[in-house]
Amino acid sequence: MRPMLLAVAALLAVSLLACLGPYPGIGERLDSTALVSGTSYIALDGGGARILVLAPLDGGATAPFTRIDEHQPRAVETFQGTWSGEGTDIDFSASTVFILPNEASKPVSSRTGATRQQLSPPRVSAATVAVAGEDLFVLLGAPDVAGSYYTLIRRAALISGADDTVTACAFHLANLAVESSEARIPGFNSAGMTQYLNRVELFEGILSGKVTVGLVGLFSPVSTITFTNYADFEGVVLDGVQISSTDTGGNGGLSGVLGFRIQREGLPPLEGSVDYGQVSLSNGNESGDYLVTLDGGTTVRVPTGRRIPPLEQCLGL
């Protein structure tokens, strides 16, 4: 009986305070991510990162792909589908998109949060390989896929040392994986998080591992996001916990420590951690500093908001 009362209380409270976005499907799975194992490439477009994970064709006509478009300051679109290639022509056929919109200007109660959409018919983007090098390939054609792509773990090898700039760069790269995970948690950054009330739900990493999400407390919600060997693309693996404790308006703070491991070609992994204890939340928006520590280094305060230094500088793009 208690779960039923909680459900009714949640429904009444949410109906008074918030909207939850469009109706979900009946019996819809929370996690419908396709696992894609392949080489990860990164391109930068206006400061935002575009990560392309291509599974090898291995003689077949098509293979899975994932494209993670990150927009500054905090919005993500992740497309999944299949790609095919013949000669220099490549077609990307996206059948699923995960969207975390930038809703910083809206009150938490009015936000849609992260959603997933099935694209029917699939969205096809045609491109041509203009340059194909060992470290770089350039795609021309459809604007949503065009760009200069670099092999991510090769570029990550440029992040070495332990000074403040390197520490900030390591964090910015690791944070791409955090943002990517958020897009795949339906309702993230909105009142839709109430669907995780008193339950813990699991989401698979696109490449490996898992992340779990749980929420306790309806009027003083505490959400716990736990990463275990989590990776959406080559180059960054997450292990640790991020906790947010807020009121219903999204005011409060973060806590928890999240470890990260950055894989670098030809170098040992760069390991470190992010302590979220100095990050405040106001109307669901972050402010304050991330306390980032690389193994063997000192703790560096990395401010929330726009990336300093930019990823172009960090990855030498």
């Binding site: 779960p3 039923m4 459900a7 009714v8 949640a10 429904l11 949410v14 109906s15 909207c19 939850l20 976005g21 469009p22 109706y23 979900p24 499907g25 009946i26 019996g27 819809e28 799975r29 929370l30 996690d31 849609t112 339906p186 669907q195 339950r199 739900e201 699991l202």
Partner: protein, 227 residues
């Protein structure tokens, strides 16, 4: 002395029966007037059998079918257990039902609710104004329009999404009652059937993803009528 004709006696008492109660009522309303004579027992105006309160329990079949702005068609078939209340020949009514969803459909796919959801339930509320009409000695029909709320909350099983809705609209209802003459403890009781239909057009919980929807409730009623 001449004896009155039988037709004259009947006419006289008819006039008395019709006008005396009215005269008495008029005098009662005018305190300055002369005291009224006691009306004969046969002249008492019959009690309006439509007066008083009805409190009823109503098990029913509840169907909510609606279309979303994203072109999906959902239908929920549920068992509803309701409380029905209405007052007087013309007055307010309330239908409040607890809904237990049993089957959910979306775009032709049929799911048993228990296979994909847990802790499922809902509330259906129709509140408005009703009128009652008598059909003979023991039957009564009640009908009226009202405002409608249909709330559903279906908690997803592990790994599955929740489904919830809060749909608002307008509707109407009709109740056909049979009131037997048997009154144990001087409390009247009723048996009957209820039909309620609503058109819902707004869902504040779901960013108004609701295009339009209908709710139909068909069931039985059993209850008491109190003076």
């Amino acid at each position: 002395m001449r004896r009155p004709q039988p037709w004259a006696v009947v006419a006289w008492w008819s006039i008395v029966a019709v006008f005396l109660p009215r005269l008495a009522a008029a005098q009662a309303a005018d305190p300055a007037g002369p005291p009224a004579a006691e009306p004969p027992p046969a002249a008492v105006e019959p009690v309006d059998r439509r007066a008083g309160w009805r409190h009823e329990f109503s098990p029913a079949w509840h169907m909510a079918t609606f279309f979303s702005e994203e072109q999906s068609h959902y239908t929920f078939h549920s068992l509803s257990l309701g409380y029905l209340m209405s007052v007087n020949a013309s007055g307010p009514f309330l239908h409040l039902s607890f809904v237990v969803p049993l089957q959910a459909r979306q775009d032709g796919q049929v799911h048993s609710v228990s296979s994909v959801y847990q802790n499922s339930g809902g509330l259906d509320l129709l509140v408005g104004w009703q009128w009652r009409w008598l059909l003979g000695e023991a039957l009564e029909i009640e009908s009226g329009p009202g405002a409608h709320v249909n709330a559903l909350n279906l908690g997803g099983k592990p790994g599955l999404t929740n489904f919830n809705a809060l749909q608002l609209g307008v509707g109407g209802m009709s109740v056909l009652r049979w009131r037997p003459g048997w009154r144990p403890g001087r409390v009247g009781w009723t048996l009957g059937m209820v039909t309620a239909l609503a058109l819902d057009l707004y869902d504040p919980l779901r960013s108004n993803d609701l295009k339009y929807g209908f709710v139909l409730r068909l069931g039985g009623v059993v209850g008491v009528d109190l003076p």
